[in-house]
């Protein structure tokens, strides 16, 4: 019994000590100008998705699903989000990032509107996605969430309204 406990403790403490030691020695690469390996990205996405599903509000979006609302959300998006997440109807920017910002116009999103609402409000830890709850009113966040949800599939009049004006 004593050696069982010893083995149990050793199997927990030794790997922890090795990881902390490697961290302190600078053994882990920190540069962000390469893409994360696929296993790391899928594991991260999997855990984030599960957490967002658990935490997102269990309510319907309070904003109407109209073209006018999409255009309002689109204008907010163009100001605050497009720099990293790309333009509606535009070409992918393929930014160099360790965990790339999803370009919704190309890839869409599997998140629901309440889940997108939660992410915009609270951000995603250890990524470039910061928390916007203090930058927007709740209603604006809902309107952003609706826009992002529809971004790969916008009605043509909405796309037209959001196109940069020619001078």
């Amino acid at each position: 019994m004593k050696s069982f406990v010893l083995g149990f403790v050793a199997a927990i403490v030794l790997p922890l000590a090795v990881v902390v030691g490697a961290l302190r020695l600078g053994a882990f690469e920190v540069r962000a100008d390469v893409h994360a390996p696929a296993w790391q990205k899928s594991l991260f996405d999997f855990a984030v998705r599960a957490a967002v599903r658990r935490l997102a509000p269990r309510v319907q979006s309070p904003v109407p699903h109209t073209d006018a609302e999409l255009i309002a959300g689109g204008h907010l998006y163009l100001n605050a989000c497009a720099g990293c997440h790309g333009n509606p109807g535009g070409r992918p920017q393929n930014l160099t990032e360790y965990l790339p910002s999803p370009e919704f116009a190309q890839v869409g999103t599997a998140y629901s509107e309440p889940e997108l609402f939660w992410i915009i409000e609270h951000g995603i830890r250890r990524t470039g996605m910061s928390a916007y709850a203090t930058s927007f009113k709740e209603r604006e966040v809902w309107s952003l969430a609706e826009f992002v949800k529809r971004m790969h599939d916008l009605p043509p009049p909405v796309l037209d309204a959001l196109r940069p004006k020619k001078h």
């Binding site: 019994m1 004593k2 050696s3 069982f4 406990v5 010893l6 083995g7 149990f8 403790v9 050793a10 199997a11 927990i12 902390v20 961290l23 302190r24 020695l25 600078g26 053994a27 882990f28 690469e29 920190v30 540069r31 962000a32 100008d33 994360a36 594991l43 999997f46 855990a47 984030v48 998705r49 599960a50 957490a51 967002v52 599903r53 658990r54 935490l55 930014l95 160099t96 990032e97 360790y98 965990l99 609270h122 951000g123 995603i124 830890r125 250890r126 990524t127 470039g128 996605m129 910061s130 928390a131 916007y132 709850a133 203090t134 930058s135």
Partner: protein, 169 residues
């Protein structure tokens, strides 16, 4: 010996199950508001510093160490980095909404050398909001920013004066 191995195996299995539940059932903390706990900040900051020290090398800044270099770097910093990293006397609220939060150099200074700052600006820091700037700047521009950040708490008065926002009319 057999009992010892059984203990090892048991710990590995339990840890694997606990990790699967933690990640799969959505218990990993994802919200980026709020400050990391002290143990996490100090461990991860030490790890990042150690990794940068190991990789950044010791090349000297190729730019002349003049006020003009600091002013050029300062203009770039205030225009392009200040949104997250703040300006002298003006910490960024936006930078505080990242996890880990963006360091406010004008308040806290930095332990990195110019060469290490250059390396970080060029390559970015993974698992943070610090994106690589290499694709957007030529090396001399990054060196000027590094020179400025290294001196940000201790700028020559002429440089500080030149970077003051124009007085409102």
């Amino acid at each position: 010996m057999k009992n010892f191995l059984a203990g090892v195996l048991c710990a590995i299995l339990l840890a694997a199950v606990a990790l699967a539940i933690y990640l799969g059932a959505g218990f990993m903390d994802v919200a980026s508001e709020g400050q990391p706990p002290a143990w996490e900040s100090s461990l991860m900051t030490a790890a990042t510093h150690a990794s940068v020290r190991r990789r950044a090398g010791t090349a000297a800044n190729p730019l002349p160490g003049t006020d003009a270099t600091l002013i050029a770097g300062g203009k770039r910093f205030l225009g392009d980095c200040g949104g997250c990293h703040g300006a002298p006397g003006k910490p960024s609220d936006f930078g505080a909404t990242f996890y880990p939060p963006a360091p406010q150099f004008a308040q806290i200074g930095t332990a990195y050398t110019e060469t290490q700052l250059f390396w970080v600006a060029k390559h970015g820091i993974r698992f943070s909001g610090m994106t690589p700037e290499g694709p957007y700047y030529k090396d001399p521009a990054l060196w000027s920013i590094a020179a400025f950040v290294a001196r940000i708490r201790n700028l020559p008065p002429t440089v500080a004066e030149a970077l003051k926002p124009p007085a409102p009319k």
